[in-house]
């Protein structure tokens, strides 16, 4: 925790490596399935000297097992993945109260660095259900923490019993315009898209007060649509009057206590150059690996993402995803999830057969 709070000041590779190996060793000894995986790969703690060589457990592991290093009774909170396909088991992430506290510190520190680098308080308008309505949704939990710590009066969640009501958001935005209160509009990427559809239909647009910003998470694919990130950002500018570098995307995973933010808002205030990409907070690392060889790809090339997150102290810190990303000088970009050879050749995928129109 101390490392997280100080890491902005003293990012230190040696300390990180030492902590990472300690965490690894702890998890190896506490989580039997992880131990077997490491042994099979010949990567038990004694054989690993760099964080880069810590075996990542597949995200599938969170669906198959309870990956928890503490006695089950200590798990006071469980978050689960959305589970896109019916019949597919959901991934579960277990948290003790200590684990939640560690995640809270990471959430706030991350937001301080990447979302509110200039400080201040904002009116939070959140396109997500409140945590009490969605207790297993990690995004709702995280956004509640942000609202508690950076929110002005009048901040609120916008997905309720009726689902998302775009008229309500439009009213809130008009009010913020009138009161000249900067807004932090945060929530599900697809929720933003449905709001923009509404705006286009009603011929609405807003010019939100200076200092307003957006944070979206969850990705731009779903419900039969898929757009590119730059298109999404141009919609933000067009409908909300928020400049591109005040609009950022966040990659969050239920399996991880930490999130990865676009660096562009942070860069705007620090004056750093550099194109938009996800930058790791100092207590995490991400590698972009070629799935054929599991070696790191060069800058600019694509591969699958491997994350190491020290806040996952009580689960597994090193995670192998099937997300495809591109390695960048300052970090990485996420491009989407691998979908496979579905419907390639004339071999038919069963998914295609059973998909309802």
């Amino acid at each position: 925790m101390e490392y997280i709070q100080n890491s902005g000041v003293t990012p230190d590779e040696d300390t990180f490596n030492r902590l990472a190996l300690e965490v690894f060793s702890f998890q190896y000894s506490r989580i039997p399935i992880y131990q077997r995986l490491c042994d099979k790969r010949g990567a038990a703690p004694g054989a690993v000297s760099s964080w880069r060589d810590i075996p990542g457990i597949s995200t599938e592991g969170f669906k198959l097992f309870e990956l928890f290093s503490k006695p089950p009774a200590e798990a006071i909170r469980i978050f689960s993945t959305s589970g896109t396909t019916q019949g597919v088991k959901k991934g579960r992430a277990l948290f003790s109260d200590e684990g939640l506290e560690l995640m809270n510190v990471a959430i706030l520190e991350n937001a301080r660095r990447c979302l509110f680098p200039e400080g201040g308080r904002y009116r939070f308008l959140i396109i997500a259900p409140p945590p009490e309505k969605a207790p297993h949704m990690i995004m709702a939990y995280g956004m509640e923490q942000l609202k508690k710590n950076y929110g002005l009066a009048g901040s609120r969640f916008l997905i309720g019993e009726q689902g998302f009501v775009p008229e309500e958001l439009a009213r809130e935005l008009r009010q913020a315009e009138r009161e000249n209160t900067p807004v932090a509009l945060i929530g599900a990427s697809l929720g933003f898209l449905s709001f923009f559809d509404f705006c286009a239909q009603q011929k609405l647009s807003f010019d939100l007060p200076q200092g307003s910003r957006t944070l979206d998470a969850g990705g731009y694919k779903g419900k039969g649509r898929a757009i590119a990130q730059d298109e999404f950002i141009s919609l933000i500018t067009r409908f909300l009057g928020i400049p591109p570098d005040m609009s950022i995307n966040l990659l969050g995973m239920t399996e991880l206590g930490s999130q990865f933010y676009d660096n562009i808002l942070k860069n705007r205030f620090s004056g750093s150059p550099g194109a938009r990409c996800k930058e790791n907070p100092p207590w995490t690392r991400t590698l972009v690996l070629d799935p054929r060889t599991m070696q790191e790809v060069p800058v600019g090339a694509q591969g699958v993402l491997w994350h190491l997150d020290l806040t996952n102290l009580e689960r597994v810190a090193a995670i192998q995803t099937d997300d495809i990303g591109r390695r960048r000088e300052q970090g990485f970009e996420i491009l989407g999830r691998a979908r496979g050879s579905e419907a390639r050749g004339c071999s038919l995928s069963i998914e295609e057969i059973t998909r309802k129109p």
């Binding site: 592991g61 099937d322 390639r344 071999s347």
Partner: protein
């Protein structure tokens, strides 16, 4: 960097002056240090109409040739393509391997498999099988069964939409069309525009006038301005592609036009305990590995799951080491396809998942090449799961092979090919079951990639569907 160029089209000589211009697509393969530039003629509605009129006029020439002469020309074309020193084949193998990712050995194997079954005797047998007698194509011919004279006539023009998945396959549509004396206009896939023009050139070299009876062009699939003109003029349209593509074509053709669709299908294998003897098992493993490895599973006839019955001398689980050895030897014989990033990511994810299940003590065994080039998974699945392809086969143990119906019933109508290994006593039981489920071909293990010209592809008499009959009663 090595630079190659290729023509992505074929036109009869007299039509070349009507081409208003060319476009080029450049495909780079940095890992292979090669770039290939493909030339395509610009296609306007006016130009397409000229091509159509020209081809339709050539119907008379095809009608004037005896069917035996047409079969001769097709036979000689296949003979050329079976010869590894045939220059067009050498060029095709290199370029198709670049485009499709198949290894050159696999492209050669695929072309071999396709053309071995396309010899004169095969063509004439196929005509006998589907029409009763090839002589019905040459003129009015007495039919004993009908007690009258009949003639079978193919369409004025056939259109074919080719896919890219199986190297050498487009020749089949050209052969079918010529066997019913119909000129053909083929649309090459942009993913593999190499083979169809080279095959057309081969025919032209064997008979310059038959070279005027076909054209190969390419345009963006679904371009209605172009396709609707073509569809309006064809008697028959042969479509290879996804269900979506096939449906989209069917919706747009005039009611009198026949559409012969070959959309995505799956294959599977079924092995009874009587075939799992200690003596036979190693050979069976080789056969299954050949079924799985050929075409790297990209064919509708490739197996995606092999069901093995328990209770034989060799259990399904004990069969795994034998299959592992066999997969390795297949890999040495015919190297696997290049893996793109996305396919590799899926395979790696499945490997990681299988590894975890195995480590957790679940009844799962995963054996695979470290670099993902082949994968065998033993898993008592609850339902049929399709393979991510690239030589990824699931071995599903069944206490009783009859239980297979539970897995197949939900995908009824989507199965193409079954590799079946059971004793004589149970053969008809399973053949009947598979027939009811819409399987269009049943063969022994090891023969899945090599159907004959006789096969009712997709369950249809593909040549028979192309002709219309005229019966004359007064003679």
């Amino acid at each position: 960097m090595k630079e190659l160029s290729a023509k992505g089209y074929y036109l009869p000589e007299p039509l070349l002056v009507d081409v208003s211009g060319f476009s080029y697509s450049v495909h780079e393969f940095p890992e292979l240090d090669t770039v290939i530039r493909v030339e395509f003629p610009l296609i306007t509605p006016g130009f397409l109409e000229k091509v159509i009129v020209f081809l339709k006029n050539k119907k008379a020439y095809l009608e004037s040739l005896p069917i035996a002469a047409i079969a001769d020309i097709l036979d000689r074309a296949s003979e050329n393509w079976l010869d590894d020193t045939f220059p067009k084949k050498i060029a095709a193998v290199e370029a198709i391997s670049l485009f499709t990712g198949f290894s050159p050995e696999m492209v050669r194997e695929s072309i071999k498999v396709e053309h071995l079954s396309s010899r004169k005797k095969d063509l004439l047998r196929a005509l006998h099988s589907e029409l009763g007698d090839p002589a019905f194509l040459d003129g009015f011919h007495y039919s004993k069964e009908r007690g009258l004279l009949s003639k079978a006539t193919g369409p004025e023009l056939t259109a074919a939409i080719f896919s890219s998945n199986i190297p050498g396959l487009p020749h089949l549509s050209v052969m079918r069309s010529f066997l019913v004396k119909s000129p053909i206009l083929g649309k090459a896939s942009r993913e593999e525009p190499i083979f169809p023009p080279l095959y057309a050139e081969t025919l032209k070299e064997l008979d310059p006038e038959i070279g005027n009876c076909l054209a190969i062009l390419s345009w963006r699939g679904g371009d209605e301005a172009i396709e609707n003109i073509l569809f309006d003029h064809c008697g028959v349209i042969i479509v290879y592609g996804s269900e979506e593509t096939c449906n989209s074509v069917s919706k747009r053709v005039p009611p009198a036009t026949r559409v012969i669709s070959h959309s995505h299908r799956v294959g599977f294998g079924a092995v009874g305990r009587e075939a799992l003897s200690k003596k036979e098992a190693p050979g069976l493993a080789q056969k299954i590995a050949y079924d799985v490895s050929t075409f790297d599973q990209f064919a509708c006839i490739s197996p995606q799951v092999y069901f093995l019955e328990e209770g034989g001398q060799v259990s399904p689980k004990d069969f795994m080491p034998l299959l592992e050895q066999a997969m390795k030897s297949q890999e040495r014989n015919i190297p696997p396809a290049r893996l793109n990033l996305e396919d590799a990511a899926v395979l790696r994810h499945l490997h990681n998942t299988g590894e975890l299940k195995e480590l957790a003590g679940e009844d799962v065994v995963l054996r695979a090449a470290e670099n993902l080039t082949w994968t065998i998974v033993y898993e008592p699945l609850k339902e049929f799961l399709s393979s991510p392809l690239h030589r990824f086969i699931r071995i599903v143990p069944l206490p009783d092979l009859k239980d297979i119906v539970k897995y197949l019933a939900p995908i009824k109508g989507y199965m193409q090919n079954a590799g079946l290994e059971v004793g004589e006593a149970r053969r008809s039981e399973f053949c009947n079951l598979f027939a009811r489920l819409g399987v269009s071909r049943i063969c022994p293990a090891g023969k899945m990639p090599t159907p004959s010209m006789m096969w009712h592809h997709d369950g249809l008499p593909c040549i028979g569907e192309m002709v219309r009959w005229t019966d004359a009663e007064m003679f």
